[in-house]
Amino acid sequence: MVPTSYFLVLSAVLFVIGALGVLLRRNVLIIFMSVEMMLNAVNLTFAALAYHFLQIHGQIFVLMVMVVAAAEVAVGLAIVMSVIRHKDTTNIEDVNLLKG
């Protein structure tokens, strides 16, 4: 029997790796993948706690996150495509329309 906290620590580690990926990499695609990993880490937390408390609702939440993630990836990748088409780059630093 694996203690629940192990799962939680694992998900924290995965989350932080994902976050570092977002922060350290410049490639839009990889940043995107890192975001997916962060979502997965959170999903793991939900599943672990659902098991811990024997509450099915946690798993429902994971399902919802997956749905949102799927939609997000579809739209996000479409945005990436059009950005690449316009700017001819995947480097996040070249996309700075938000500069004040």
């Binding site: 995965l14 990499r25 798993q59 479409a78």
Partner: protein, 171 residues
């Protein structure tokens, strides 16, 4: 326990692989590995249905989508080539150190809290949890969560339309 350690290590290694690979295509494959090991962990957490969905949606759909994009954009050409050419250590070096520092801090904080803290032992209804089976999830999903479920379908539809509109070549 052994299984947990094995899959946890695979997940962590794959995650690190995702963020340090030079080429996006390797990253995508590492990502697939990461998702798969998480699916295994879900089974250990009595979430068989989630594990299946994880493989189908993340492994099957999302990673494939990433791969498609990578291929479409020219595969290996789209590596992080500028990352190495730029003198980013001078320009953005402090950012990276700060990011890593913060990440370590975060893991430390969470780990400390989780190891020292006590999770309350309040237990739910094992019968209702039903081993995380499709039946247990379905009965809740189609009763208590009917509205969010339907909304999710709308969200997916909107996402699909949005993707089509955005990806359409300019006229």
């Amino acid at each position: 326990m052994v299984l947990f350690v094995v899959f946890a290590l695979i997940a962590i290694v794959a995650a690190v692989g995702v963020i340090i690979s030079r080429r996006p295509i390797y990253s995508a494959l590492f990502l697939l590995l990461n998702f798969a090991s998480l699916a295994a962990l879900y089974i250990m957490l009595q979430a068989q249905f989630l594990a299946a969905v994880q493989v189908i949606v993340y492994g099957g759909a999302i990673v494939v989508l990433f791969l498609f994009v990578v291929m479409l954009l020219g595969g290996g050409e789209l590596n992080d080539i500028r990352d190495t050419n730029r003198p980013f250590l001078q320009r953005f070096g402090w950012q990276r150190f700060v990011a890593v520092g913060l990440g370590v801090l975060m893991v430390a904080g969470l780990g400390y809290g989780l190891v020292t803290g006590e999770l309350s032992a309040v237990q739910g209804d094992p019968a209702a949890f039903g081993q995380g089976s499709v039946q247990a999830i379905g009965s809740v999903l189609y009763t208590d969560y009917l509205l969010p479920f339907e909304l999710a379908s709308v969200l997916l539809l909107v996402g699909m339309i949005g993707a089509v509109v955005l990806a359409r070549p300019p006229e």
